[in-house]
Symmetry: C2
Subunit: 366 residues, 2 copies
Amino acid sequence: MMVGNPLQHPDLRYVSAFKSADPIVFVRAGGRDYVVVSSMEANRARTEMMGASILTPEELGLRPAQRRRVGWWALGLARKLGLRRVVAPAWFPLGIARLLERGNVSLRVARGGLFPERRRKNAREFAALCRAQRAAVAGMRAVRALLAASRVDEKERLVLDGRLLTAERARAALRKSAAAYDVLFGEPIVACGAPSADPHQVGSGPLRAGESIVVDIFPQEVSSGYWGDLTRTLVKGRPRPEIRRMHAAVTAAQQAALAEVRAGARTDRIHAAARRCLERAGFKNGAANGRPFGFIHGTGHGVGLEIHEPPSLGTQRDRLMEGDVITVEPGLYYPDVGGVRVEDTVQVTAGGWRLLARCPNWFVVP
Amino acid sequence: MMVGNPLQHPDLRYVSAFKSADPIVFVRAGGRDYVVVSSMEANRARTEMMGASILTPEELGLRPAQRRRVGWWALGLARKLGLRRVVAPAWFPLGIARLLERGNVSLRVARGGLFPERRRKNAREFAALCRAQRAAVAGMRAVRALLAASRVDEKERLVLDGRLLTAERARAALRKSAAAYDVLFGEPIVACGAPSADPHQVGSGPLRAGESIVVDIFPQEVSSGYWGDLTRTLVKGRPRPEIRRMHAAVTAAQQAALAEVRAGARTDRIHAAARRCLERAGFKNGAANGRPFGFIHGTGHGVGLEIHEPPSLGTQRDRLMEGDVITVEPGLYYPDVGGVRVEDTVQVTAGGWRLLARCPNWFVVP
């Protein structure tokens, strides 16, 4: 049993093509799917969820005050189907669980997720992921074009069309480039200089020559809900020498990690391969004043209906499986220099991997 | 206590400016806010959440395997603070509640939400809502301009630049118009003809002259998370007579509802005023083949960090309060004709209301 907004809960989206900003109740029982939606949505639900039995609160025999509460929809459906025990995802809302328990329906939380099969992306899902990733490549191309068209002022700031080229302007250009695709860009990262040493810093203010500009783009395809994920580190003009060395090491680490990617490979070993490569190039990990530096995150994560989903390519032991879609994104972060990260997204195959979309490893922009 | 992704959970966003695609733990205890984030995010969290105590899993004394599970972060924080009982929102994840309960921390679900004060929007929130609504008006203007620039072919379809003008093209134009604003448009509704009789049908395919084209735009400001909500029903060329009558009645019903809006007003009476107005104009409510027709939804809903939030302006009894931001959006839906809806969003004041953004009640587009 699941209760929630299909656009917000990937598990619901996985089993149902129904798009709703309002919550629904979903139950799979005896090989059949049952869905409760408001009477206003019933017609659309019947069209968009062929095969599922669509019910309305009115059809569950609920009293008017109960019909307004989705928790009662869940209890009404459980009673109609004669369910005394249900399996629920870890994200199941506690308030509704309590209402079900008071109604003598007990819940067991599914360990490892309701749908571990979400990891294996089929051809339709792979196609959606590729479309999202192509939008990310288009966005990256747009940002690179902005840098290429800009000039450098006396304070090493980038200037375009007589105005400072800022992270905000780059993000606006990214949004514009998305208009041709069926994707939402959210808040892509365009972080320049020292702030880019925080991997999730979105970035603000003027972009500067010679500094690393981390551009991390993660569009979600609106119609399907699948994500892309792509990062490049760009430098306008001549890079600071330490950034050049970091970029070479990160690129090599990404290659080292990708060389290990195949169905059955241990995720912690892939991460170790990337880390070893960076350490051998002389890049240290540690912490100063409680702030970690070096290679401070995992090597990658699964991508699908969530931008971060299993598997995780870090210190935790797991194995890749055929059909997994993962990012491979080593990075180096030093508070006094900035960050460098290079990220591509691939699908795991029996013997290796295939890219979702090709994007040159752009770095220096003349 | 709350556990979740701040970008996904409005309650978390309400108390914290921290933007994260990964889950955090939030506890307010003894007048102080405590937040657990991954060590990678700690620096950014300290900068963006001034005033809160930021902790990392490492600082909670968790073992390495526990540090990877946000449920353990919650239990570790509860133990560090000596909490045996916590209050949680209804949406609190059941899986984490179970882990806390096994660790002898009991949870009580807050009735009516953790933060009922979210209903009263202050000046900063009102400004954000106005910005989102202005983006919606700009989007509406863009769609109207497309209709105005189009011509009608021999099959009554709209044609622009030698190609059919479709709902999809109108949505793409909407997205493009959003590029100048800091908003995400999601999937705005552009539904033409009979399909528009389903209020949440997003619409697809060619737009046609004479038919109702329901355009419902609900942008979310990226930086603040606040939404706008605006609907107009447009017709290219000469409207079918029944659509003209429906539009006049819906417009009058919106005025009748707005005339009742002020702090202290009963929400069910506002809804009744709109319904009465439509019934007096001769528009019947009912159902055929299990499908409701007429005025099939409430008159409005709250708008804030959620596109649908309290209060609800339907049959349920409640009272408006000063600072509420609500939509007022009566509509009529007949499967053989289509839908007509007119929606504006207003803030409730002591003596009435004020618009978030002005938008003419566009209808016929020559």
